[in-house]
Amino acid sequence: MTPPEMLAQLATRFATIITLQAEALDPGITVAPEHLVEVMAYLRDDPALSFELLNCISGVDYLEPDPKKLAKCGFAPHLEVVYHLSSYTHRHRFVVKVMLPRWKGDQEGALPEVPTVSHLWRTADWHEREVYDLCGIHFTDHPDLRRILLAEDWEGYPLRKDYVYPLEYHGTRCR
């Protein structure tokens, strides 16, 4: 199935809750977090689509820390979670994006929330842990949401653009 056909099928099925991104290099859709599980389950189970494979989950921090470049950057500060899907049977791929605020309710320290898809693809388990670890996105209903790469007592989310590097960790200087 070609990307325009996929987009057309999804547009008829989920007319109101998705935004198509047809002109992007990788065609895909944008979903609100509350409809994510519904759309992902459809993408996996529909026989014409049947995305059996979740390639990766990525967290992207859209923030321009430099005030001089802020006027030209062309985006408001937000976070994105990007899901790349593939199908073995039909040999096609797809991109699903979720837009999030940088902090839940604009309160510093309250992590933004996305429902987990680890019950649809087991791969998502560790990928979501990695995104949680490095970007600070809370995946609700995840079976075991702990840090996966950094130490358990690490503070902060290093791949956020406003991350402040630690000065010491367990008595060892970090710089």
Binding site: L150, Y169, T172
Partner: protein
């Protein structure tokens, strides 16, 4: 050993007990299997047949710190690993030696500025005897580092003076032979002035 030597039949060799112990110890430095990153590949190459770490008695890589004398920290140490490195070092029996292999363990290497999770040199975690820089170091460089550890073992005066270890003086390699025109200070100054004159732009 002057007055003792040659007083017995030819098959008797005289030495001090300390030298004999040091000789045995330096010829059987058992390293711990401790590869953390890409430097470990080079360490394995050093242990393989072409470079053959076993020639120096250090080819028996032990899988436990309790049987090891030498810790070759080969690769990037991050903070999650740092506590484990310190614990493994503490579990090794005395006397113990540490080689910091590669740029990352010497001082953070390419992760010095933006590596939020990388220890800026393993000497912040454990005492290091020999630093082997390089990214990764050649097997020859690791062999050189091992020989410097052997020099250090040879200088140990464990029986007579407790535990002080003499600083190793490189003997086999490491000497830089200066060319003749730089061999003395006067000659070197003259050479520098001459080069400066020659580097001046001509007016023509």
């Amino acid at each position: 050993m002057g007055w003792l030597e040659g007083r017995w039949e030819e098959s008797v060799v005289t030495t001090t007990l300390e030298q004999a112990i040091n000789w045995a110890r330096e010829s059987s430095l058992w390293p711990m299997t401790f590869g953390l990153a890409c430097c470990a590949i080079e360490m394995m190459a050093t242990g393989a047949s072409r470079y053959d770490l076993d020639r120096f008695g250090a080819g028996a890589f032990r899988a436990t710190p309790r049987q090891a004398d030498l810790m070759i920290v080969a690769g990037t140490v991050n903070f999650k690993m740092a506590d484990r490195v310190r614990r493994l070092y503490n579990q090794m029996p005395e006397p113990k030696f540490v080689i910091a292999m590669g740029a990352c363990t010497c001082g953070g290497g390419p992760y010095y500025k933006y590596g939020y999770n990388v220890v800026k040199g393993v000497d912040l975690i454990v005492p290091v005897d020999v630093y082997v820089p390089g990214c990764p170091p050649r097997p020859e460089a690791l062999l050189e580092g091992l020989m410097r550890v052997q020099d250090k073992v040879r200088g140990m005066k464990e029986l007579t003076r407790g535990q002080p270890i003499q600083l190793p003086v490189p003997k086999r390699t490491g000497e830089v032979l200066l060319p003749d025109e730089l061999s003395t200070l006067e000659k070197a100054n003259a050479f520098a002035g001459e080069t400066k004159e020659r580097a001046k732009p001509t007016k023509a």
